[in-house]
Symmetry: D2
Subunit: 142 residues, 4 copies
């Protein structure tokens, strides 16, 4: 599985198609079927009690699964999440970035499946895990 | 399962503990082990292509499962989501509110399990389904 | 969504393609996008402590989602489960049949999504819930 | 996380409490928070079309998550699965054993969370992935 889009290409793409949220995320590293990226935690991601909201963790897992899929198939803005299962395991630190390490487990013609572990920067153990399925739009007949 | 917190009490509670997002949601109806609530769709919830983002649908499912649990046990701000499985089935209309109908399937001492169907206002068929587990903090010994 | 295969047709089909397990299950009722069926609980489904095994409940949810999908699209032996999320909520009675009530939430060209509630015969509240995605094989070009 | 039960202790335990299915599984290796085990594929696990049934893969994931939890907390027959999410990604070979590699992601007082990858012996890529939550019975007050 050769990388078709690297960290820079994915960052440019994210800015083009998801301008509203592109400032929230940074791509750290792209490898063969894997990506490391982060949520640049800001006030809007926090919850009372000093932690990061579930939807913010979901959003990070979702964008990581999306981008690692695109890193292998190229820019397909219309790929859509069809399923996500997520376990929240520990409370992230409020003041720290979240780091997602995503691995593409399957890349089929129609579906991709990605596993994601989410870490709170500075902690050893993952704060959440997620698995996501993306539906890949069929290629137009040429 | 008598209702301990009704729509008004849940709305007041949501405003107290989640002030950042309370403007996004409205509680329409609370029954025995069930709630109907909505996401007041705004620009920040949209995605290019005229649809509502996955994290916004997740956030609605999450708050519905939280509030239907609290409607039965009273105000326990510290209940936390431990697991969510969500299927995205259809594209919601960008200009419409999302409506969640949540049903509490189990209310144990330690865990609650809730099923949620999400509708795009004006459409018959659900746009997403989710099931969520909440961990309920143990009661302090008195 | 008209019914293409009724309870009798599904029972015959199940016997043809899954002869090994057909004796374990009975179809009680088929409606538009819904099915009620049961696991005929036998010794092999039990666990010490007087309950029914998780894999037996999974198997019932899986066959219910499969058959309710086929009830709408006709006999497609090659439809395959791609995802299942299941919550085990209560302990089923060891001596009772399990009853699954499944509802087709989405029937697309490529994927179906089904919600299943599993009951222990004689108890009011569900013992498990599951949601399953089936991949539907593309129709051959004719 | 020191290992409290090794492969031999887990095998003996499995035979004591799950005698009906103990012949189906073998424990290959136990490490700190991880286990490798296999389904000794037999005729009853197969499906027409030359593959292994979904419930058999579920059963393997379930027992792997159970045993890796017990490897850390000792013999607690009453731990129960509360949730499983499983993705079926590829078709296993009918004649091959299935190998599960499970990793304990969280071991709390009340819940454990385990990730499992399932391989068909001889193939590189996983045929399924699963994540499971077990509820751990509270320790009796002494």
């Amino acid at each position: 599985m050769a990388v078709m889009m690297d960290a820079e290409a994915l960052t440019v793409f994210m800015r083009e198609v998801f301008d509203q949220v592109a400032d929230d995320f940074a791509v750290d590293h792209v490898g063969e079927g894997e990506i490391t990226m982060r949520l640049l935690t800001a006030n809007k991601h926090l919850r009372p009690g000093g932690t990061i909201s579930g939807p913010s963790m979901f959003a990070l897992a979702d964008v990581a699964a999306y981008l690692v899929t695109l890193s292998q198939i190229g820019p397909q803005a219309l790929a859509v999440t069809t399923n996500c299962s997520i376990d929240f395991m520990r409370k992230p630190a409020a003041g720290a970035h979240l780091i997602a390490k995503a691995q593409l487990l399957k890349l089929g013609k129609l579906l991709s499946v990605t596993d994601v572990l989410i870490y709170s920067e500075g902690l050893d153990k993952p704060v959440a895990r997620a698995s996501l399925t993306y539906a890949i739009p069929p290629k137009p007949l040429s």
